[in-house]
Structures are given as structure tokens and as C-alpha cells.
Symmetry: D2
Subunit: 309 residues, 4 copies
């Protein structure tokens, strides 16, 4: 059976490009069935219901849709099954500005853009198209369709969507800042994580007791064991109540990470395991500390217990 | 001179409602000059350039526009002046669905909604208007205008915008989840913070060395001094590099908070002080720990130094 | 084969009384072979060389001999085998003052006392025997012998030694302070520790890197895992170099204690395991925290790894 | 008025040598009045009562008398005034073995030794004087007197005491281990500490709440502020209750040390300040971290509060 991959669509979005990157790595680029879904929570619902085997959603950057909504959807309500990440893809986000036919930038009067994308290219568009007004599109891909269908002169869109709608590129690599990092996750139902590679990421969602210091104590469970935290987000879940999303370097099968997770399970109100998976090579940094190796200390300890040491 | 308050508009958005709440508390509701601005970074730019005295932007929730973009704008590039928060307002976010005239929900075929709002009311809209399709609007307020101008049957909008456009309310208090907390900040140029009230919030942006444990160490500067952290966000600023946004209970004039900030200044690559201001009464929780009082220990210490103890 | 128990003698010292208490608990009071040894390091040497199966030495209080020397001897030089504690006994230390025959306190002119004991009863002796001068004895038991052999009028000694030398008790329960706690350890060669009882003590000797914070980091390995430290001593081992002796609540077979020891093995220059053994019932306090139970979190974790959760 | 210096005597002990070293540094070697006192707690009592201006006692090593008793005496009972340290001296401890006249080591049958010293030279004496028996002396100096008065063939004593009693040196630099570090403190009544020198030591006694983690939390007050702890001792003060003695690098006038002490004052049941004084040059190590400088962060903070930054 060919697996079904849902993604936050429509076709031609950055999310589809990220999914393609993952599929290429998995050697499934030509065979996989892809279905576009209208928003990230719906992708997650489809995995939970069995309607898709896997799903691709943006997780770090609001360039495409509501990442906070994605985060909320990842944290299952009581009774719902857990979803889990198995891979990630990092895209170097920049936009293509395209028109129906090649045209003088000074003649561009309307630029279709998804509102969040518009926020990322505001200054660039003002410079490139000084006489243009931004009109709202339903997605980065939808902006291209708006141009193809005559509702705007130009579109802030992706290279893939411009190609799909046979548009002419006016500008490429458009972005107000050049340090945007956008990560996408390949999600699936809960299951055994992929094998450790030595450069992995582990992600958890924590509901913590509403007491001073509970977050620092939770983070210390990682720090004390030599595990580097690479990302932390808090989401309000009620007055004075927060939910925390933590990414750590290392794999759940690394002894240090396992210890940390078990410790969190004892102290947190809830720990949702979001998976362990290989870091996208583009994000691997040379300073990255991998969790310390416990092999030697375990041997020492077992000899100690037996009294032979 | 009447102060000028910019806000993330257009008129009728939640942000304007939040600004009004702040102005009422300051006794300036009837006198202040308000100007609507197209996006939160532009509000911040206007304060920096002196075009507005104050500005109101959403900071915690993506219900209106790009909160990440707001956060990025709060962190000044080299040479730009610092902006600072002086007040906050929390709104209990739910939407009004309104039409040009009272109508049967079953007859609603198109619902105009700002994309992010659409994500928050998706399930509710499906239940209330089973035959409706969502069409994109440029803002929550713009959705109401779309209805007033005949581009949609109904709008997911705010009560204020519905009134402004003289629409008929079809449903009130619409929200898929009822625990949404949205905070808005009143920003201004750097200056002395308002007096401590005993229930204050202090916010900082930290650029930390890219070494394992640096974030936990920074948070420990608060935890060790009995200061409760209420919010933490990380934003990628480059490959493997993060910027952290921390909210703490307490006022910069509380001795414990002052100690923590000075300690961070010594260890962090950069500390941007975003201000100390009173917590919105709606968010004040009874379990809130205020930072410990240092008065007695200071007296003890001074007598110790003098040798009289 | 009847085991041989060495102890810091001579007969009649507090250490012999502590050994007797341990032997009664082990049901060996009437059968064990006891040999008195002249100093605690010699007791430890005898165990190392196989000349004794077990040995009893004071560990916490300098009432009898050089506890620091004992501590140094517990830390094996390169190539020497490790010794390990299997039991402890706490004695409520107070002294008996005894004379050859009953006599008027005012007539006592010389009081024999082991120097360290003399330091503990100085004020009491001044009050009880205002005209007496203290003369040095070789041990608490030796003080009784000095009286028996006519070298002093009275002896600061133990009840056991007074009986042994058939002396008349002039005063009982003599101690300047009534909160002295003296612990004695039953040592033996390295071997499997006794079974956990739920109220155990674990002791280690740490050689730490000479870097700021290394001691606090080591102690945090216990604290972070909910393990209470009950004692800590530092001994200089060179200029600016220290060796640390830590006692913790819990048993090496408690998962939390095992984790802490393995972590120390990874970070310390050397970890010497001194054993896990039951706390003397007299020292068990109701507030004592036992290390947290890891059973449930381990089950959770194994189900997580298998993907069934 | 010439100040009176008490010391743990008698004349010729290591403590007198340490006092002389301190007096030389203070330029008072030839003028000070010295009085020998029979034990360290009595030295401290004499300072408290005003009978001496200063006093010298051993603090780290049990080579001379009961250091634990000294530590107990430093911690004032309710109502008693605090004593404070103003200087320290480190002695490289080794012993002189001396006889009335030069003699063949093989002929030495009795060696007088203070019991604690005997513990430090046991192996050396066995090698040097294989036929000798150790007899107890009242102090290191008293051992020399015992030889001078014919009660023993040889004495384990100090160079000073051997000279004083005009004995012949049989062996010099006698010590079983060559890494003994012995520190002595110059104590006086509470008063302003000496000026910071950049290489100072600060010492405190802490009574902590009997709760798990309270000791680590207390030590973290130093570690978090970049202050190196050089020594820590615990003394039992009741069942399950401990008192802690901490030495830290730095001066009470260093901002970091001041912060730490004020923090301890807020959390501990009692903080007794034992003083800040220059480290003995012999103990100054190149790796020694001085507490971080707070000057720049204070300036930053004051400009922040004023809004000018």
C-alpha cells in the first residue's frame, strides 16, 4: 500500500516543498500519494482519524498559517491519540514575485499576498513596487492563482506555485530579513521512533504545576544531564496557566534523554512525547552538544552493585 | 498636547478595543487621538520615529496578525532606539458573526474571515453555518466591511466592527475553545517605568551565547531570586541561534528583579528591557508570587559591614 | 568460621559499645570475635589486608580519635582495595566520671581524660570538681585504667570501662552539650550492599575538578533527583584542592540514587562508593525524604519507546 | 595600648608559629603581648569577654586539638557576641623529633606525642624508631617538655618547642603524608573587615531549615553569582540537624558576595558572618576565580531605571 501524505496546502506552498524534500530523502518522491489540506490542525486530525498515514506542517515560523494553532493541535485533548514526528525539513524561506507576463515594476498596482507573507516582505515590496497596493490572498499559492485569474497584477508566492500557474518571475529570493528559519515536521501516529543517528532532536509538550520555578526545574532536568535545549515556547492555556513546548538535542534512546523524560513524567502534570528524529542537515551546527554517553558509567555501576569493584 | 495613540487597525479590531480599555483606565478615553496602522511592526516604527506617542499591539496570541513579527520588531536593530511597554490589556477573545440583515443560518453561503480568525472558529462555523464557505478578509474589521459592501453573506468579526458597519448579529461569543487569552501592550519610547503596584510584570529580550545551558542559566537568575517567570518564547535568529523573550512577575524596582537584570546584563550578549507595568487585573491570579522583599536583609547587611552587628 | 571484628580500642571505649550494638542487631553479640586496634586507620588497614572481616570506627564526631584520619584512610590510595560500610550505630555520647572508691568531689585533685573528651566536658568538670586538674590519658578507656593504677583520682571515661576496672561512679551522663551525635560505621571489604530497607544511607567520596561550581554541580546531581544530602565534609588534599565526603538518604539500588552515582562517575575525577546501609533507628527522622519511586515512570517510558502509548 | 593576642598554647605549638607569622605580616612581631591558652574554645571565650584583643586558633586540620570544638565555639549561642576573623596563616605542617641529647634511633624506646600528631606520623615513627613505643603527651609542645623532664626518650614536637627545651633534633620534616594543609585564623571581636585585596576569603556559618535541598540551594546562592566555594563542613547539631560552615573566595564588599549573603539572610534560619580577610599567599592558586565585577552592570541598570538608555 502506498502511504498517503497530507500537507498544509494548497499545492505549491512552502509546506509542499518541505514535504517533497522529506519524500526525496525517504526515496518516496515519485510514489507517494499527497493530499492538500486547508489548515495544519486539519492535517493533524486526518492523521488521528486514519485518513492519512503521515502529514506535513510548519512548526517554527508563522510564514504559512497559524503555527500556534498547530502547536495546540499537537497537544491531544483527553482521549485523543498522540501524534508523533518522524522527520523534519528546514526551508530557506524567500518569496518569488510573479506576474502573468513580464512587466515593468513601476506598472504593478496590486500585489496579492497571504497576510503573514505580506508581513515578511513589506519593505521589499515597497522598494520593488513603489506604486503597488497589497491585496489579500488565501495562501502563498492562492496569490499565484489570483494573478493567473486576473485578480491582481503580481503575487508574493513560491517558485513552485509560480511555475504551476505558468507565471513570469519578476523577483526571486524576496525577504525583508535573510535569517528566517522555517522548520516543517513530518507527523504520523504514535509509534517507535526512527533509529538514533547521532544528530537527533527530541520534542515534548509539558503541562506544569502552576508554581514558581516549575518551568526552570523542568528545563534543569535537561541541562543537568548535559542535554541542550534548542527551542522553548509557552502557550497560554488559561489565566496564569501555560503549556510548554521544548525541543532538545538528542534521541529518546540516548540514556541522558531517557532519564530526563522519566524525571519529567514524575514531576509534570502531563508529558506528551512528540518524537525523536534526525535534525535536518541544514540545521546541524558544529557547536551542537550531543547528550553525554552513559555506557561506561553504567558498566561501572553494575560492577559496583555486584561488589566486584 | 493631546498624546497620539497608534494601534494595529483598522478601526473595530480587537486591538482597538484593547487600546480603549487602556485609555479608560488612564482616564483618556474621550480625549486621546487614535490612529489606525496597517500592521504591528509599523506601529512600533511610528513610535520609534516620533510619529506617535504610544502604540497598542497584540503580544500573546495570533488572533490578530503576526505576533512573531511584533516580537521581532520589539527587538531593536543596532542603532535603533528601544521601545518600552507601559500598560497591558487582556481581552477575552470571542467573535461576533454578523450579516447585513437578520437571516437564517442555513442561508449563509459565504463567511468573510481574517485567516487567523478563521482558524480559531473553524469548527464553530461548520456547526453554525453548515452550507457556508469561508472567504478571506484583510482583518477582523475588514470582514465586516466586506459584508457591508456585499462581498460576503456574513462576517467573522468583532462586536465593535459589526456596530460600526451597522450589521445584524447572527451569533455572539463564537470561539472553538474558550480558554484563549490575548494580551495587548501599550508601547512608548524608552522612559522611567510606572510606579510599582505590587502586581507588575517585567519583560526582557535576551540574546544568549550559543552554548548548552545558557538559557537555563538565564532563567535561573530569576528562579533563584524567587521571581516567577510567566512566559517564555524563543525565536530563531539564525541557524542554531535563538532569541528569548521572558516575562517575569515583579517590577524592575523590586530589588530581586533588579539583581536578576544586572546578572543577565553580565552574562548575556544583549539584554533589551521591554518595561515594567501593572498586570491586567483580569490576569492577576491568587497564586502569584511577588518577588521577595529585600528591605530587612539590606539593613542586616549594612550593619554587618559596619561591624556593629 | 566466626567472623573477626576489629574496632578502635582499647576495650571499654565508645567504639566497642557501638560495635556491640551492631552485633546485637545482627544476632552475633555472643559469638563474634572482637579485636581492639590502636587507631581507626589501622582498623581499616586490617580489613584491607584480610586480617579482620569487619571493623568498627567512629565517623562523625571527634570524641574518640582522629575522625579526619579515618576519613583519609577510607579514601583508598591507588591500587588499594575499597572498603565499604554495611551498618551504622549512633551513640548518645556522655561520659562517666569514676574514681577508685566513692569520694567527695571537692577532694578530687586530678582527673584523667583523653584530650578530645576533655574538650567536651571542660565546663562540666570545672563545675563538678572545682579543685581538679586534668591529666592526659591515652583513650577514654585508658583514663579508667589510669585511676585503677593510681595515676589519677578520677577518670572521664565510659560506663563500660568504669565497670571493667571496677571503679565507683562519681557522675554519670557528663557532657557540656547534650546534642552530641556520634556515628560509628561497620566496615568490611567491597561487596554487594545489604538489601534496601526504605530508610537507608548512601555514602561517597568525591575527587572533583578544581573548577568553580564543581561541588555545587555534584550536589545538584542529588538534589535534582529528590535525594536529601545529610552530611558533607571537605578535606584538603593539596593547595586549593579538596576531597568531598557526602552522605545521602536512600540506597544505591533506589533508581534515583543509581542515576546520581552514574552521573557523578561521568563528571568527577573519582567516585569512591562507601556503601549503602540502614540508618540507625535512633537517627531516623520523620521528615526524612526517601528518594522518589521510579517504577511508574519506567513503565511509562518503556511503553513510549515501543510506540504503544 | 599594646594589643593582647591569645593563642592555643602552650608556647612552641604550631599555633604560636602561625600567630608569629601573622604578627610579622602586621609588623607587630616584636611588640605584641602573647598569652597561651589551654584550648581553642577558651581562646574564643577570652575574645568574647574582652580578656584578649585577638586570638589565634587552628581551623582546618586536627593536628592540634579539636577543630570541631573550635567550629562549635565560633557559632555563638544566643546572646553571645559574634567573633570575626581578620587574617589567616597557612603552615606547612611537619614535625621535629627531638631527644635530650643526640642518640641512635635504634635506642629510642619511648616517643612522647600528642595523640592527634601521633596519628599523622605513625608510619614515619615506625620506620625511624622501630623499637619505640608511643606515649601520650598533652600537646606538641608538651611532648618536648616530657623529654626535657625525662618522661620519654624522644618527642614528636615542633622546631620551636625543641629549641625552647634545648633538645637535640633526631629528625626533621617528619610527616606520613606531605600534602597536609593547616590553616589558622586570627580572630577578634565583630568589626569592619579589612579592605579587599583582590584575593580574599569570606566565611559564614549557616543554620538551614531541615528540608531536602536547603543546603544545595544555599550553595547555589554562591555558585549562581560566580563565587567559588573553597570549603564546606557540616556539624551535627541534633538528630537529623546540621550546621554548615562555608568558605568562599571573595570579600564581603564584592557586590556578588554581598548579594549572596543577603540572599542567605532571607532564606537561612541564621547566618553568622565569620569575616572577610586576605588569603594566605601560600594558598593563593592561579586558578582562583574572583567574584565577577558588578560595576558596569550597575551603571547600565541605573541608566535603565532613569529611562535614558
Amino acid at each position: 500500500m502506498v502511504p498517503v501524505y497530507a500537507y498544509f496546502g494548497p499545492a505549491g506552498t512552502f509546506t509542499e516543498m518541505a514535504l517533497d524534500a522529506v519524500l526525496r530523502r525517504r526515496g518516496e518522491a515519485s510514489t507517494a500519494t499527497k493530499i492538500a489540506v486547508s489548515n495544519p490542525p486539519a492535517v493533524i486530525d486526518l492523521i488521528r482519524s486514519g485518513g492519512a498515514d503521515f502529514g506535513c506542517v510548519p512548526i517554527e515560523s508563522s510564514l504559512e498559517g497559524a503555527v500556534p494553532a498547530t502547536m495546540d493541535a499537537l497537544s491531544p485533548s483527553a482521549g485523543l491519540p498522540r501524534v508523533q514526528a518522524y522527520a523534519e525539513a528546514a526551508l530557506d524561506i524567500s518569496f518569488t514575485v510573479a506576474a502573468a507576463t513580464p512587466m515593468d515594476p513601476a506598472d504593478v498596482r496590486t500585489v496579492a499576498a497571504y497576510p503573514v507573507a505580506a508581513g515578511q516582505v513589506r519593505r521589499s515590496i515597497e522598494e520593488l513596487f513603489p506604486r503597488a497596493e497589497v491585496v489579500v490572498a488565501t495562501s502563498n499559492s492562492g496569490a499565484a492563482r489570483d494573478v493567473a485569474e486576473g485578480r491582481a497584477d503580481a503575487a508574493v508566492t513560491t517558485a513552485a506555485a509560480a511555475r504551476m500557474h505558468e507565471l513570469a518571475t519578476l523577483a526571486d529570493g524576496v525577504a525583508d530579513s535573510d535569517d528566517a528559519v522555517t522548520r516543517f515536521l513530518l507527523l504520523g501516529p504514535a509509534g517507535p521512533p526512527p533509529e538514533p543517528t547521532g544528530a537527533d532532536r527530541t520534542s515534548v509538550i509539558l503541562d506544569l504545576p502552576n508554581t514558581p520555578g516549575s518551568l526552570v526545574a523542568a528545563m534543569n532536568e535537561f541541562a543537568m544531564r548535559g542535554i541542550d535545549l534548542t527551542r522553548i515556547e509557552s502557550r497560554p492555556v488559561g489565566p496564569g496557566q501555560y503549556r510548554f513546548y521544548l525541543d532538545a538535542r538528542g534521541h529518546v534512546r540516548d540514556a541522558a534523554v531517557g532519564e530526563a523524560l522519566r524525571a519529567l513524567h514524575r514531576s509534570a502534570e502531563r508529558v506528551v512525547f512528540l518524537g525523536s528524529w534526525p535534525v535536518d542537515p541544514q540545521l546541524a551546527v558544529t557547536t551542537a552538544a550531543t547528550p553525554p554517553d552513559h555506557t561506561e558509567s553504567r558498566e561501572w555501576f553494575h560492577r559496583l552493585l555486584s561488589g566486584e569493584l
